[in-house]
Each structure stands twice: as C-alpha cells, then as structure tokens.
C-alpha cells in the first residue's frame, strides 16, 4: 500500500496523436526507453489501424499444405479480420481467395475445412464460381448493364508455401515470402520442416490485447515466477538473441546438462531430428514472425503459434505442435508441457491486460531481460507510422 504519487493522466484520445512524445520515449535505447502506453492495448481505432497496416499487409502462416491435400480440398481462415478461402483446384494448384461473393458480399464458405469441392456456390443467391475463382453462373444478370462475368471472379489473395507451411498475404502487391522469412530460413535449415505432421492443435481465446501475448512470448523475465517447470530445463537467463531484424526477432535458450528436449523431465521419447549439430541438440529456438506467428524448434518437435486478434481486447491463439511424419510417438509429453506453459502465460497476459486499462497506468520501463520486447515494440511503432519514417 504505497502512498507515493501516481503518474498522472488517464489516456488521452488517440485521434489527435497527442502522444507523440510517449512514442518517442519508446523509440530510444532500451535502457532509457519507456514501454508502450497503456491505452494502446484497448483502443478500438488503433486496433482497426493495426489490422489495416499490419495484419492485412503481411505474410501469415495459416497451416500446412497437406491440410488441403486433394483437388477440391479447402480451408477457411480469418486473417486480419477478413475471411480467406484456400482451395486446391482441379489441376492441383493451391489458390487463395477472399471468402466473399462478388454480388452482395456474402461469406461463401462457412466450414473450417473440407474436401470434394467441385465449385463454389454462394449460399445466398447461388452465384457459382469454379475453383480458379472464375464466375460461372449468375442467374438473372443477363439484362444488367455493363455486367461481364469475366469481371466478377473471386478476388485472389497471394499464397506461397515454404517447406510445407502455407502462407497468405492480403496485400494486393506483397513482397516475396522469402523477404519476410529473412535469416530465419537459414536458421531453420537443419530442421526437417517439410517432413512434419501435426500431432496436436489447441485453440485458445485470451482476454488480452494481441500485443501483450506477443510480448509475453518474447521474454523470459517472467519465467521464474510464472513457469517453474520451464526454467528447470531452460534457465531463464540462458541463450542469446541472433535475429533482430523485423519482422523476425528471436534466438535460443540453452537446456541444462542432460536434457534432450523441452518437456517436463527433459527426456526425449522420440527420435531426435537427424542432422542437428551438437549445438542445436542443446538448444530450443524461438522466433517471432511479426505480427502473426511464432515458431519454436526443439530437438524432436516444432511448435507454431498463430495470433489472431479478435478485437482490441481479445486474441485467439492457434497452437500447433508438429513431429516428424514417421515418428510413432504422439508427443503427449510435449503437448502437456506446453498446455501448462501456455495457460500460465494466458493468465498473466489477461492480468496484464486488466492493468493496462487502469487510469493510473501510463508507461513502464523495460528490464535488461526484455530487449527483444523493446525491439519489437520499436518495430511496431515504425510499422504503424507512429514514429520516425512511415512506410506510407
């Protein structure tokens, strides 16, 4: 019960950008820097701009290529608040479209996934598209002026694959996926990504702003208090950052002597990935792919987080755990370990979210264990055009 004076000021409204000074206070060397102002974690207008500037303009990993295995197989996902349909056409080509009818804007496909799609028919007025997105059938449009079916195909979305992972980018003029992956492609080379199969998927909903979840994934300052089981295998001060060039940030943590993989007891019951160096066999690698994904490599499994903001105060997180496709072990131990760790994290993120909203909280300071969070926050402010040279 401190009686010390509180920092002043409930959040001013953001429209006037009155907080330029606060942003500049973040964009300084980490030891001098202040953290992002609390209002940025619940503001609806800021959130809308984040969707537009970040999530709708970046490569997002939405799953695995083999989830859409055969012609007519499909997957629907939400990226940046917009519906996306991924389908394999009759020639076997993977395609992505906005999941919206060109007529009155109706969502076309509701199911999360499926197979055997011969064409795409809108459930409202039965406009029909083929799997290449061409409009084939549109009843009662013959007498409509200047209407040519060829002009009303589904809106395409950029799609690329990387070693079995499926990526989409809603930007109509996206840069190549390889630019997004940057140095991560080389770092991930020893891991057999094209051979992975999904052992587990857990979908979480977290009552916290997406940035808090992302920040949480990028520091271990909280680990001693929050994750006692994790620090037994990977002490929180261990390891190093090796990529800090946006959109990729991350590095590794070192396992304690005798540990083979990151699970509760550190023992691997699986074949460890062949071809890993002695160094790789002692490490767990973690990389954020700003803003929507987080990849982690242990010696015998890989995890992928996919952050889906549902609103300024709600985040869905899809957590996938992958093992080698020939690995018979179901990786229950690894999943159990991450289920525990994840729930510890979401709880503390929800507590953090509540605190950001109080009138008393404005900006805090970064510890020396949080330089990656600081780097990400700076990158975020630049991408949003809130400090320095905007890219827009």
């Amino acid at each position: 019960m401190s009686t010390a004076a509180r920092p002043s000021a409930p959040t001013p409204p953001r429209r006037e950008r009155p907080t330029t000074a606060a942003f500049r206070a973040v964009d300084r060397p980490v030891k001098e820097a202040a953290t992002l102002p609390g209002w940025m974690f619940s503001d609806a207008a800021l959130y809308a701009e984040e969707l537009r500037r970040l999530f709708q303009r970046t490569w997002t990993c939405v799953g695995r290529e083999d989830e859409v295995h055969d012609a007519g197989g499909f997957l629907t996902v939400e990226v940046g608040g917009s519906g996306v349909l991924i389908v394999r056409d009759k020639e076997g080509v993977l395609r992505a479209f906005h999941n919206v009818c060109r007529h009155r804007g109706t969502r076309l496909v509701e199911e999360n996934c499926g197979s055997g799609l011969a064409n795409l028919q809108c459930p409202y007025h039965a406009w029909t598209y083929d799997l290449t997105g061409q409009l084939r059938g549109a009843p009662h449009m013959a007498g409509v002026e200047n209407f040519d079916k060829r002009d009303y195909g589904l809106h395409p979305i950029a799609l690329e694959t990387w070693r079995g992972f499926l990526w989409v980018n809603l930007d109509p003029n996206p840069g190549p996926l390889s630019d997004h992956l940057g140095a991560l492609a080389e770092r991930a080379r020893p891991f057999p990504l094209e051979r992975l199969r999904k052992a587990h998927r857990v979908v979480y909903e977290i009552a916290a702003n997406w940035k808090l979840v992302l920040q949480n994934a990028n520091e271990c300052y909280h680990c001693p208090g929050v994750h006692p089981q994790l620090v037994k295998i990977t002490p929180y001060t261990s390891g190093e950052e090796d990529i800090h060039r946006g959109p990729i940030f991350g590095g590794w943590m070192d396992m304690v002597e005798g540990a083979e993989t990151l699970t509760a007891n550190g023992k691997s019951v699986r074949q460890r990935f062949p071809g890993l160096s002695p160094e790789d066999l002692r490490r767990v690698y973690y990389y954020v792919l700003f803003p929507a994904n987080f990849l982690a490599f242990s010696t015998d499994y890989v995890t992928l987080d996919w952050f889906q903001p549902l609103g300024p105060e709600r985040t869905r997180l899809v957590f996938d755990l992958y093992v080698d496709r020939d690995e018979p072990d179901p990786a229950e131990d690894a999943m159990e370990f991450w289920e525990t760790t994840n729930r510890q994290d979401w709880h503390i993120c929800e507590m953090a979210h509540l605190g950001q909203k109080t009138v008393a909280y404005d900006q805090g300071r970064y510890s020396t264990e949080e330089d990656t969070v600081h780097a990400i926050d700076q990158y975020y402010l630049h991408q949003m055009g809130l400090v320095g040279d905007s890219d827009e």
Binding site: R52, Q56, G80, G81, S82, G83, H98, N99, V100, C101, R102, H103, R104, G105, T106, R107, L108, E110, Q121, P123, Y124, H125, A126, A138, P139, H140, M141, A142, G143, V144, E145, N146, F147, Y152, H155, I157, L170
Partner: protein, 386 residues
C-alpha cells in the same frame, strides 16, 4: 421476400430500373459505428416508427416502454383514454423513470430517484425542496412529449419534435390496406430473434426473392420466386414504403407448413387478394406481410452495427382465434423456419461485407427493391452519409 418481376422486361412502365446499372453500397455501411449513429439520428429519431398495438394498453394507467437507439420511450393511456408518449426520463437529473417493459394501474409517474411526480398527461405535479430554487416553475418542467399516432390498430411514435403527421409518411400505404379491418385483428404468438447482422442486410434480404430458390425450398414451392410484381418504390416519393406481392402456385392458399389453411380469409379479402401475399417494407424498419388469413409483422431494431433484434408478430381474426381448434402454429412454424434461413444468410453477408476485398457488387434483375431501398437510403444519408 417481396415479389419480383419475372425478368427486367416486365418491370411495369414507369418503375425504376436503377438496379440494372447500379452498384450496391460499400461494405463499411454494414459495420461502421459512425454510420449507425447517423442512421439512428436520421431515420430512427426522425420518422414514424411502429412500436406497439392499441390493445396492449387498453385501460387508463396501462403503459409500455420501448428503447429506440439510446432513447427510452414511455407510452401510457391517460385518464381521458388517450395514448400519450413521453421520453422516459425525469426532468431533474435525467433518471430513467420506468424500468418495466409494460404494466398497468399507473396513477402517476414517480421518479425512483428523488420522487419527482408527473401526471399521466406529463405535467409535473409534485417536487420536494424546489420552492426557493430560482427561476424554477413546475409548469416548465413536464415530461418531454413524444408524438404518438394510431393507425390500423398500431401505435406509432415520432421522436422529432417537428414531426409531420403519420399520413405524410405512410398515407398512400394506409390507402392500400384500408379495405382490411386490421385494427380488429389480435396478436397471436411473437418470436424474437437476435441476429449477428446489420439491420439493413435484413431489409435487403426481405426485399428480394432472388435468394428464395437456394435458401427457402418450402417458401419457393408455395410461392415461386418469379411470381407476382412490385408496385411501390421508396424512390418514387409516394410514401415511405416499398413492395408488391407474390402469387400462390396451384391451389395453395396460405404460407403454412403445407401451403394450405382452413382459416377463412380475413374480412375484405377479394378473390384476387386470396391468391396473393402482399409484402411491404415500411421505412425504415418494418416488414408488413399480409397473407389471406393472417398479418405478419417484423420489426428490425439495430442493437449495434453488426447486431439486430427482430420482433416477428402474427395477427389473426379474433373470431377465428375464439374457435376451440384455433392453432396458429402452421403459419408461425413455417415462418420460424424461413426466418432462420434468412438470418443465417444475413449473418454470412455480415461476415462477408467485413472483408477488405468487397466494396460493393451488382444487383441482379431480381433486386429492384434492394436497389430502391439502397438508393433511397443513400439519398437520405446525404452528403454526410457513408
């Protein structure tokens, strides 16, 4: 569900053809908070709105309250038997006066906070500790009145202090239905739905049967989508309503689970009327569907840009209702099915219009009334509109 001409060539002479060249509104009008605020201000606070029935408050002291946008409205029958409308708010510190949705036996209206007391005519009759307050006169501090009118048995309110008469908004519509004694009808069951879709998507959905073949197999069997005609348009400027009728296939005689009913037609139904269902949209939010043997009313209220409340009411001839074997479920049940089919595609439309890819599409030949509503809507939203 309104009827649409078989093809555009059979659009009646003089009817609008804007749908053949027009483009639908941009997606943001279905989810933008600022757009909804403008709509509520321009449409819901400045038009006559259908809010109830005379017989809901038959006696002195009977009342009902309704929420419209951010406003709460109190309707009460006064000691002279007149229905009075007030803003449901105390003049003192702005407290909401009555919480209950409806009730009876009101002698006066007492604020629950500091017990300021108003008569059923709205006059402030009792206040404590105001005697020495400077410039305060009870006669200046009655409840804020709201215009109320009655037509066809329905109660209508208008929150605009300078509102014109109800007939200026809907006169030609009442002329069309005057041959039916609708004030005599009585309410059967009501269904209430909360729908994750913008209120305009519901109006647009009601305004066309282009979707009926894929979405409503039962309805489309009884009244095929290409039957009937449209003969009322918002954009014609002859009253704020639009619509037309659809025609029964074969010997079907009502919209029921079977397509048949043994209920006699309502009084006033001609031979021609008995082959039809009349469908009208009353600006901005009422769907008025007159069947041979019953009247159905939908009221669509925006709760947020992406959520709406729909009240679906059914009215029957009280003589028929008095019969021991009266069972409205054949009508109510098929409309519950049709409603849910519609709400489902409207919810999909809500999701789709949120897509950053979609910025409006084209109307088919079958969507003249959708175009008509959208065109009138955009005109009403004006320069500051979406």
């Amino acid at each position: 569900m309104s009827a649409l001409a078989k093809d555009h060539k059979s659009v009646p002479p003089g009817a609008p053809t804007g749908h053949l060249s027009g483009v639908t509104p941009d997606g943001h009008v279905y989810w933008d908070d600022a757009v909804l605020r403008t709509e509520v201000d321009r449409f819901f606070y400045r038009n006559w709105l259908l809010v109830g029935r005379e017989e809901q408050i038959p006696k002195t002291g009977d009342f009902l309250t309704r929420t419209i946008g951010t406003e709460s409205i109190l309707l009460v029958r006064d000691k002279q038997g007149q229905v009075r409308g007030f803003q449901n708010v105390c003049r003192h510190r702005g407290t909401q006066l009555i919480e209950e949705p409806s009730g009876s036996g009101l002698n006066s209206i007492v604020c629950p906070y500091h017990v300021w007391t108003y008569g059923l005519d709205g006059r402030l009759t009792g206040v404590g500790h105001m005697a020495s307050v400077q410039g305060f006169r009870k006669e200046d501090n009655g409840l804020f009145p709201v215009h109320v009118e009655s037509a066809a048995g329905f109660l209508w309110v208008n929150l605009d202090p300078n509102a014109g008469p109800l007939t200026a908004q809907l006169g030609p519509f009442f002329d069309r239905i005057s041959r039916f004694p609708l004030a005599q009808l009585r309410a059967g069951p009501t269904h209430t739905y909360t729908i994750e879709a913008n209120w305009k998507l519901l109006v647009e959905n009601y305004s066309e049967c282009y979707h009926c073949a894929p979405v409503h197999p039962d309805l489309n069997r009884i009244t095929p989508y290409f039957t009937g005609d449209n003969d009322a348009f918002f954009t014609e400027g002859k009253g704020k309503f639009s619509g037309g009728y659809q025609t029964f296939a074969g010997d079907y005689n009502s919209m029921t689970m079977t397509g048949y009913t043994r209920r006699p037609p309502l009084p006033g139904m001609t031979e021609e009327d008995r082959k039809r269902i009349y469908y009208y949209v009353l600006w901005p939010n009422v769907f008025f569907s007159l069947h041979p043997d019953y009247l159905m009313v939908h009221k669509a209220w925006p709760l947020s840009p992406s959520r709406s409340l729909v009240e679906n009411e059914f009215y029957f001839d009280p003589k028929v209702m008095a019969q021991p074997d009266f069972d409205p479920s054949d009508a109510v049940d098929i409309w519950d099915i049709i409603n849910k089919q519609d709400w489902h595609v409207c919810e999909l439309a809500q999701k789709g219009t949120r897509s950053r890819a979609w910025h409006g599409g084209r109307y088919s030949e079958q969507e003249i009334l959708v175009w008509d509503f959208d065109a009138y809507y955009q005109e009403q939203m004006g320069r500051n509109g979406p």
